[in-house]
Symmetry: C2
Subunit: 150 residues, 2 copies
DNA sequence: TATTGTTATACTCTATAACTATA
DNA sequence: TATAGTTATAGAGTATAACAATA
């Protein structure tokens, strides 16, 4: 008996494509923002603190990173001169993360690079198709899905 | 000046959603097939060898894994009793990977679990929308994109 | 006693280099 | 000389546990 037990090419399954494409997009963005000396997570943190005053703990909740990772990310932002830790005025346990002028400038550059990378990624689609894709993907991103993650 | 330099919520950007959703889908599949004792890569290898006779090297080319990872994956398939290494009749350097009856049975079970997980993932979409999404994602998965990956 | 930030540590994944046996 | 498989090892990424300061 030589009939395939299971469809051989899960390459065409939506789930498979989604996983692979997500990974590829991650690498693409990583490469795109490399000139800034940052990685996507640094940019995400900078994005949050550009208008709000947030502690590391609050940034953890917003980004889903854990405390120890956040320490490293803020360390690196400080080393790059893109953010500083300051004592919270209300709770002396907390340390507030504040962007420097250089950090804000780097954020603008990074956002531009990411936008370019996204354009490259979505190049095969028309503007209407991009909106369609964004809408469909957004609907998959349910609390239900997030609930079963670690 | 308190105006956001950069849109604060890249959460709505297609690239961001794609990366996050891909990661979530990966975890979902990982969890779904856990009852089989396998991980998605084992299942992928089993899927390839169910009808073809392939060496580890050939499996590397098909899956994109490197040699050392493939050794580990085949080791684990052997330990589970789902595949065996056999000497190639044409080239004694090569070792051909062959599924056992138990391996084929496990593959069927795994494929079913993955299908269920995919249904769960795509539950928010209608059948027509799923086809649409599959088509759009497929078009993003270009050789161009794969070329800029490591 | 609980929480914030921190450090040290362990664990997983993957990649690199070196070895063997065959070609 | 090059290739297939293997092993050992190192590196990055992430998670866990324990600690200091403060609530």
């Amino acid at each position: 008996m030589n009939t395939p037990v299971v469809e051989e090419r899960m390459e065409s399954a939506t789930g498979f494509i989604l996983v692979k494409l997500g990974g590829a997009a991650g690498v693409l963005f990583e490469q795109a923002v490399r000139p800034t000396g940052m990685r996507p997570r640094h940019i995400r943190v900078l994005g949050y603190v550009q208008t709000q005053t947030l502690s590391q703990q609050e940034l953890c909740q917003l980004t889903g990173m854990d405390r120890t990772t956040m320490v490293a990310v803020v360390d690196e932002l400080e080393r790059l001169g893109h953010a500083r830790r300051e004592a919270s005025s209300t709770d002396r346990r907390k340390r507030v993360v504040t962007p420097t002028p250089a950090g804000l400038k780097a954020l603008v550059q990074a956002a531009d690079l990411m936008k370019q990378a996204e354009s490259q990624l979505l190049a095969p689609l028309s503007a209407a198709e991009r909106r369609q894709l964004n809408k469909l993907l957004g609907r998959l991103f349910t609390p239900d899905l997030l609930a079963c993650l670690p």
